[in-house]
């Protein structure tokens, strides 16, 4: 038996070698893959059809009715973070490092949200001027991430002492977030879009999400809404407001090191885009019109219109003497939705308060200065905490701030610091078996400092 099976394997291998040899274009890499496949993995082999609960919606009196049905519970966890952008990433790492069971669900296949998928590569307001000195305010989880990015090439630029507002490489950032999240022991599920909440009275007990594997539930003791759009707190009925903001689409152009700057400047093309770690590449912002980021028709229209505008802009550069080599390298996978829902928190932080800056007994993060010039602004815990809903925290751009402070809160830097704060608070609530509302602030601040956060 044994020699025979060896013979079969050998024969198969020879067949594959033969087919690999059909064309000189098929290289040794392919052969190696096929050898690997020969060792065990099988493609296009039949696999049992998964048994999936079948409860289709139906029409009754012209209305679409969704039938009542039990949902399979995908996981039970202590802390559930919904949305893997900058805020969700920091929240999940912080909670897991604090030693509680943490799960993160993300609708796309990578972490970083608008930072990496939106190609908003610059981390604005990482620093502030504290007592006359340029001081890094994004420390803790976000600081750890940037420190790690500084050790790889191409990782991050403008992250040396004396500088502020660094720019990172999107792929390096995604990779490093993956590393940190797995290192911390976060249970992560990509390609899961949270669509609803599980309620028990006034307390959120988990979320319902959709995926290729159908609709399932995750139960959690504390849920952190870092969807950016407040999808979770809105579904839970928490009080919130909704705002319109400019929605753009970032793109990247390549070969900018091969342009004739003088010639382009003569033609009125002075600004190619913003620098990033790759020397021949620039990322280009597009502000876009102010509209509703929750409206599918608007989002669709803008994807198409913005992509057209980007295409035409790059063609214009290519048609200009000096810019012939420039090419459109990438259009961001995600639209740049700046602001939609803002939680009505127990404290609404105002622009006025931030510029005084007002201090709070429950400071959990320090916001930075976009120009690095003014003082850091303390962010109280109340901006993350819903007025009435229990078991939930938010962080990042959906935090409770006024119209003017949105412009600071929605930045990656603030997302990292408030995300860190929310993660630590959720972990503490689980440990002390209380709601996030009743978390001991002194203990929370001690935990944040232990995790390297800067609180002024």
């Amino acid at each position: 038996m044994i020699p025979l099976s060896h013979a079969v394997a050998r024969r198969k291998l020879l067949q594959w070698f033969a087919s690999a040899g059909l064309g000189p274009a098929i290289g040794s890499k392919l052969v190696a893959d096929e050898v690997g496949a020969a060792k065990g993995a099988r493609e296009l082999q039949p696999t049992p059809v998964e048994d999936r609960p079948h409860y289709p919606a139906f029409l009754r009196d012209g209305q679409v009715i969704q039938p009542e049905r039990p949902l399979p519970v995908f996981r039970e966890t202590d802390v559930l973070v919904v949305g893997g952008g900058a805020a969700g990433f920091a929240a999940a790492v912080s909670a897991a490092r604090a030693g509680v069971k943490t799960m993160l669900v993300e609708r796309y296949g990578y972490l970083g949200g608008l930072w990496t998928g939106g190609i908003v590569l610059v981390v604005i307001s990482t620093h502030a001027t504290q007592n006359g000195d340029l001081t890094q305010v994004v420390r803790g989880i976000g600081g750890d991430l940037m420190d790690r990015l500084a050790k790889v090439q191409p990782g991050i630029v403008n992250y040396e002492p004396g500088k502020h507002n660094p720019t990172s490489d999107p792929e390096a950032t995604k990779f490093m977030m993956d590393q940190m999240i797995t290192e911390a022991g976060v249970d992560i599920a990509f390609h899961c879009w949270a669509t609803d909440v599980i309620m028990e009275g006034n307390t959120i007990r988990g979320v319902v999400f959709d995926s290729k594997a159908g609709r399932q539930a995750i139960l959690a003791k504390v849920v952190i809404d870092t969807t950016g759009d407040g999808d979770i707190f809105a579904a839970a009925g928490a009080e919130h407001e909704q705002r319109l903001h400019a929605i753009g689409l970032v793109h990247r152009i390549g070969n900018v090191d091969r342009v004739d700057k003088d010639k382009l400047a003569q033609a009125g093309l002075k600004q190619m885009g913003s620098i990033e770690p790759l020397p021949s590449v620039r990322w280009v912002n597009l502000r876009g019109p102010s509209t509703n980021g929750l409206d599918i028709a608007e989002l669709t229209r803008l994807e198409i219109e913005h992509r057209k505008a980007i295409w035409e802009r790059v063609q214009k550069i290519r048609a200009t003497p000096g810019g012939e080599d420039v090419y459109l390298m990438q259009v961001a996978p995600q639209l740049g939705v700046r602001t939609t829902r803002l939680l009505a928190g127990t404290h609404q932080l105002t622009y006025q308060e931030s510029r005084e800056p007002r201090t709070f007994p429950d400071t959990v993060a320090i916001g930075g200065a976009q120009n690095g010039k003014h003082a850091g602004w303390p962010i109280p815990y109340g901006v993350l905490l819903p007025k009435k809903l229990d078991g939930l925290l938010t962080a990042g751009r959906s935090s409770c701030v006024d119209e003017k402070l949105v412009e600071d809160m929605r930045l990656i830097a603030s997302c990292l610091t408030t995300g860190h704060a929310a993660g630590a608070a959720a972990a503490l609530a689980v440990k002390d078996n209380c709601t996030p509302r009743d978390v001991d602030i002194a203990k929370l601040q001690a935990l944040l400092k232990e995790q390297g956060a800067y609180l002024g």
Binding site: A246, G273, V284, N285, L286, Q370, N371, E407
Partner: protein, 393 residues
């Protein structure tokens, strides 16, 4: 021994003023008179100085004797004089020239030597401690010590011979006396004061000749000084008189500069022409003119900065913002809205059209408070700056 006592007395008198922002100079009748003449109007603050003016007619040198802190300091300083040092008695009486040149200048809209008013010197000295050290602040602050030094070397040289306020009081006494001479004999009691002048008994025409010539010269000088005013004029505090009057009426007491909580007011170093030397200019490098503050107008003793209510101040136009798109981050594609958010009057908004976004200004709402300029992150030159509204007209 008495020298030490004098020093202690001087220190005791000086120290409380180091942090004070009271408009002391308003008490000076000289300031009140020439400011009112130059501004062609009588403000509330002017009325503080007028009773003193009337009193000076009745009692010779009343201000010097009972009010003037510089006079008191001079007396103390005079006791510090080095023994054996000879007094120089023939120090020229330049004070009356200062007086008439200034009055003549005031008639032409620019009171030339109003900044030599002792109370202006006094406040100017204390302002120097609250201001960044520059040649101008040192210059303004050095006048009082210089005057005192003069009196250490030549006792009475400042007060009796140079002070224009002293000369004004003397002139009033002379005028009163020469009127009295027409009707009755000289009242000896007038001369009981050691500071009182020797009153000549010439005819009124002879008396008036020199002041007349000095006034004419002063007027011509004032017209010349006003001619040096820079175009565009610099930014002045909110509620300032029109530029051509402002530089004349301002007595350079630095009261506004000291009281400004944002510290945006700085003494003019002459960048904007000789006429405005040491007058306050607004600078929005780090801060702006706060919407809930009208302090500069409250302390201005001359009325160069008018007293505005907070509601009036919010409508008082200092200048107008102007965006230079070639330096603007938002126009460059960076997502900056610093100026838009900082504007307390909501005069700025984002104008967007595809890739082209930039700040748009509603000129009818902009009062030139400088919040946008202070917030603008563009360097080395800001993308948004406030310019005097006289320029845009």
């Amino acid at each position: 021994m008495s020298r030490w006592v004098s020093l202690i007395v001087i220190a005791a008198l000086v120290s409380p003023w180091l942090r004070s922002v009271l408009p002391v100079a308003a008490v000076s009748p000289f300031v009140a008179l020439v400011s009112a003449v130059a501004a062609r109007s009588v403000g509330i603050i002017t009325l503080i100085g007028l009773p003193m003016l009337i009193l000076a007619v009745l009692v010779p040198r009343v201000f010097c004797r009972f009010v003037c802190p510089v006079g008191f300091l001079q007396e103390m300083a005079a006791r510090l004089r080095l023994p054996g040092r000879a007094r120089w008695r023939s120090w020229p009486r330049v004070g009356r020239w200062f007086l008439w040149l200034t009055i003549g200048g005031a008639l032409a809209g620019y009171p030339l030597f109003v900044w030599l008013d002792p109370l202006a010197l006094f406040t100017g000295f204390f302002s120097a401690f609250r201001l960044p050290t520059t040649i101008a602040t040192i210059g303004a602050g050095a006048l009082l010590p210089l005057a005192m030094l003069l009196d250490v070397l030549f006792p009475g040289a400042w007060c009796k011979r140079m002070c224009p306020l002293g000369a004004l009081q003397e002139a009033l006494a002379i005028a009163k006396q020469s009127l009295a001479n027409r009707t009755r004999a000289t009242d000896e009691s007038l001369f009981s004061c050691p500071h009182s002048p020797v009153i000549p008994t010439s005819s009124p025409f002879a008396l008036a000749r020199r002041p007349l010539i000095a006034s004419l010269v002063g007027g011509a000088g004032a017209l010349l000084a006003r001619h040096t005013a820079a175009k565009p004029p610099p930014l002045r505090p909110p509620g300032s008189l029109p530029e051509d009057q402002f530089t004349g009426v301002c007595i350079r007491c630095s009261g506004c500069i000291r009281v400004c909580p944002s510290r945006i007011l700085k003494p003019d170093l002459g960048q904007h022409g000789l006429a405005g030397l040491l007058a306050p200019v607004a600078d929005f490098d780090t801060a702006y003119c706060k919407e809930d503050c009208n302090a500069c107008g409250q302390v201005c003793p001359s009325g160069a900065i008018q007293r505005l209510s907070l509601a009036e101040k919010k409508r008082s136009i200092m200048g107008i913002a102007k965006v230079e798109l070639s330096r603007c981050w938002l126009a460059e594609g960076r997502d900056c809205t610093a100026c838009i958010r900082s504007c307390p009057y909501e005069a700025l908004s984002v104008s967007s059209d595809g890739f082209d976004s930039h700040p748009a200004l509603d000129a009818s709402k902009c009062i030139g408070c400088g919040a946008c300029e202070a917030a603008c992150p563009a360097r080395p030159e800001r993308a948004i700056r406030v310019f005097s509204n006289n320029l845009t007209g």
